[in-house]
């Protein structure tokens, strides 16, 4: 698969956020997802998971259950989500009506020497539709804000992205800073 003309991770995350009328709580996996989310659109509603790889979808489920009147978006790398694939089954089973997962697939571990991920040939759209149904998983480029409003949650968005040509920016926040800012936003 040629990735030359695909959007960058930063562009894909920005496009996914632009699908929402109101800023969703956004939980990003460790590494490039957190870094590019911050670079794309820093917000107090962002939760940068800087510890365990692959846990963003599960943490997002906890946020979604705690804030049922708000939308929640989990931003997961393909390598990260592969480490926690069972979470997709869990959140489908939980019928969480305010949670979506964005998988940004570049086929590599960007933070680890760009080594290939074992899922590089996986059809994420097919996988997502197997779990969330044909009307529950879409390619990012096929969605508009109007269309996204009609999609029943939980749902999944697949974004094929280009490997980064830029150095991944530093997050520049401590866990306590992240937690304090997010808690304030969650309680607002």
């Amino acid at each position: 698969m040629s990735r030359a003309n695909l959007p960058s991770q930063k562009e894909a995350i920005a496009s996914a956020l632009a699908l929402y009328d109101t800023r969703p709580f956004t939980v990003a996996d460790i590494g490039s997802q957190s870094a590019w989310l911050k670079a794309a659109s820093h917000d107090a509603r962002n939760l940068y998971v800087s510890g365990p790889m692959g846990l963003a979808s599960s943490v997002a489920l906890g946020v979604a259950a705690s804030r049922p009147n708000d939308q929640v978006l989990a931003v997961c790398g393909d390598g990260a989500l592969a480490m926690n694939l069972s979470s997709l089954v869990t959140l489908q089973g939980a019928r969480t009506a305010n949670l979506a997962v964005l998988v940004v697939a570049n086929g590599i571990y960007e933070y680890t020497g760009s080594l290939p991920v074992p899922t590089r040939d996986l059809d994420w759209l097919l996988l997502g539709r197997g779990i969330f149904g044909a009307e529950g998983c879409f390619r990012l480029e096929d969605l508009t804000p109007e269309k996204w409003k009609t999609v029943k949650r939980p749902a999944m968005i697949v974004a094929d992205i280009a490997p980064s040509t830029e150095k991944t920016p530093a997050l520049g926040m401590t866990p306590m800073q992240i937690r304090a800012a997010f808690l304030d936003a969650a309680k607002a």
Partner: protein, 135 residues
């Protein structure tokens, strides 16, 4: 030991999320705690062993208060051969990582979970309660 508690939770108004894998439970509880909500993880000791990476790098790293009720299988009064290694690994890995408060499963204090939350919120870390069979 947890099955009846899980059935009660599932039938109550308490938000209850069954997870496919134990490590997910730690993530869900961390997400709730990040929002300032109280969450309880119900898990066997072997499941907590599966979750130690998330427990250390998320729950401890972000100083998140929640409660873990874990059945500590393989103790002296619970000698199933397939549980012994779970107990030994729990002793060797969880207890050096974080305080564990052990109680006999047949005689739990009524205020155990509330006390555990008070401890977790004061300590800024999860409170791990080990439920054990007794002789």
């Amino acid at each position: 030991m947890l099955a009846e508690t899980i059935r009660l939770c599932a039938a109550s108004d308490i938000p209850y999320i069954p997870c496919a894998r134990e490590e997910e439970c730690i993530g869900v509880a961390c997400g709730a705690a990040m929002c300032g909500e109280r969450a309880v993880v119900l898990v066997q000791n072997a499941g907590l062993l599966n979750s130690l990476g998330a427990f250390a790098t998320m729950a401890l790293r972000y100083q998140l208060p929640f409660v873990v009720l874990t059945t500590n299988r393989g103790v002296l009064a619970d000698p199933n051969s397939y549980d012994i290694e779970k107990f030994m690994a729990f002793e060797a890995s969880v207890k050096p990582l974080t305080p564990v408060f052990s109680y006999p499963a047949s005689n739990l204090p009524a205020d155990l979970v509330l006390a555990a939350f008070k401890w977790a919120e004061a300590a800024r870390r999860p409170a791990v309660i080990a439920l054990e069979k007794s002789l």
